[in-house]
Amino acid sequence: MTVTKSGAADTDQGRQSAPIEVSIPVERPGARAHAEWGEQEVVIDQARGRLSFAMREAMAARELLALMVARDVSVRYRQAALGVAWALFVPLIRLAVFSLFFGFLGRMGPNDMPQLPYAVFLFSGMVIWDYFNSSLGRAANSLEASQGLLSKVYFPRLLLPLASVISPLVELGFMFLVMVGVLAWHHEVVTPNWALLSLLPLYALMAVGAALGFGLWLAGFNAHYRDVRQALPVMINMAFFATPVLYPIELVREKFPAWAVHLYELNPMVTVVMGFRAGLLGMDPPGLVTVLSGVGVVVFALATGLLVFNRMEKTVADVL
């Protein structure tokens, strides 16, 4: 795909038409108004690093964000003979492996749905887990991966982790397509819950928020200490087992005391995976407590992640 063709008509919005803010020279640190990116007056000093300013800047640079996402996506499939088809093949192959492997090995699926093939159960959780996995990884690496750019040109740094959690949505889309095919194939034994299916975008949004929130934390820290890069695969692996992807949540509820289950449900991906399975397979949706604790954690991670990222990003060009 070419970056140039899409959406050339709506391009003049963005930072050009955003309201111009002129700095008011109040001689009190932190009480100064700063202008938007690329506009009239910019004050560069320690007070510049305020979060509200960084967020407004990032909002004004939507066009750059779109380009970054398009670049991410198109570079991934470039120079592969099969191109974007890979985005479809990879999940298909994995599904085939699951089916074969667990066809011989037996199942860990929900006990109350014995007719549900384990591969389908597993795949329905993988659809959204894979998204979380790759977008968190990319967001955590986003500052480090662009250090060449960061030391040469100014742009709102927030765009890097943002683009990292948006571009894997494309792969999520392909995974979902395969999932739809699977459901059609198994329509005799699996019935989606149509009402809950309409909530899927909300659960996906929650996964985006979780990946962004944790990704902001990790990206900021990773720029300063590379320890993050070492620890990240292990952390994601642990999170995988702390999420009901391989197994149904009942397993946890049966084996652990209530307080441990509450702790477990703080993992926002518990809600997300359960929500996906509720829609796709007609399983039990996450309960109110589960949803609220998950959403609470996402909101908390986002708010603190933005603060941490903003702090870390200020000095990033000096340490990368």
Binding site: T2, D12, D45, V153, A317
Partner: protein, 280 residues
């Protein structure tokens, strides 16, 4: 009298040197300075890359920055272009900044020339519509039209540089920051890019040029700031005579480059080779 376009007010930048990047240091970076003070009252060894630097650039003015290596010239440009924050003091900038600090910013080798032009144009502060408008000029200037849809990784170094310079110079920023006046590519293109640079400095609202070449400073700028060890050593006006002399010297240099191009063409013609435009 309008406000100055760039105001550099008591700017200082310090770095801790040789300090091991401990958790504690980074806590300090994360804003827990008071905690740090409690933990280590002595403090680190500190290096001042810039110390209390103040000057202004007014409308239509070009300021040269000179000084030996390590004087803080690049750090100053980095602060003005917002890559790093000053430790103390502030810089006020009125207008869109474009810096020629580095060529090929944001170029991704996998993307085509066309895609890269858009990417780096937008990163450098244009809207996509503006890049679209400037696109023919960029391609024309850099002379890579045949390869514009080829991934940049297959470009020669010269082609990549020319395209990058084309993007930069077509953006026409209001405020231009130049780190060394570069001539890139072969003789022909060097002259072209030097002339374009001169034009940019002269047509913009303001410019700051860092250079080790006194000829470039003298012909482009009306004043210069001399930095030594991070502090202002001297600020002086460049007299018009000096400027004229430097302009002549630069013109002679460019003419020499062009003469070489001519001579080479002649040799090729004598040898019976067909004439290939040098910028392809």
């Amino acid at each position: 009298m309008s406000k100055p376009v760039i105001q550099v007010e008591h700017v200082s930048k310090r770095f801790r040197i040789g300090a091991k990047r401990s958790l504690e240091d980074n806590l300090a970076a994360a804003g827990l300075r008071s905690l740090r003070r409690r933990l280590r009252p002595g403090g680190d060894e500190i290096m001042w890359a810039l110390r209390d630097v103040s000057f202004e650039v007014s409308e239509g003015e070009c300021i040269g920055i000179i000084g030996p290596n390590g004087a803080g010239k690049s750090t100053l440009l980095k602060i003005i272009s917002r890559l790093t924050l000053p430790s103390e003091g502030r810089v006020r900038v009125r207008g869109r900044i474009g810096s020629l600090l580095e060529l090929g910013v944001g170029f991704n080798p996998e993307l085509t020339g066309r895609e890269n032009v858009f990417m780096s144009g937008v990163i450098l502060g244009l809207t996509r519509a503006e890049v679209k408008r400037a696109f023919p000029e960029i391609v024309e200037f850099s002379g890579v039209e045949r390869f514009i849809d080829t991934p940049v990784k297959r470009y020669s170094n010269g082609m990549r540089m020319r395209l990058a310079f084309g993007v930069m110079s077509t953006i026409r920023p209001e405020i231009l920051l130049v780190d060394e006046v570069l001539g890139v590519g072969d003789n022909d293109f060097q002259v072209k890019s030097r002339r374009r640079m001169t034009e940019l400095v002269e047509s913009g609202r303001a410019a700051i040029v860092v250079s080790h070449n006194p000829v470039d400073i003298n012909r482009l700028c009306s004043r210069y700031v001399h930095l030594e060890k991070g502090e202002i050593f001297n600020v002086a006006v460049i007299p018009p005579e000096t400027r004229e002399r430097a302009t002549k010297a630069a013109a002679q240099f460019e003419q020499r480059l062009l003469d070489q191009v001519e001579a080479r063409k002649q040799r090729r013609a004598d040898a019976g080779l067909e004439d290939v435009p040098p910028s392809l």
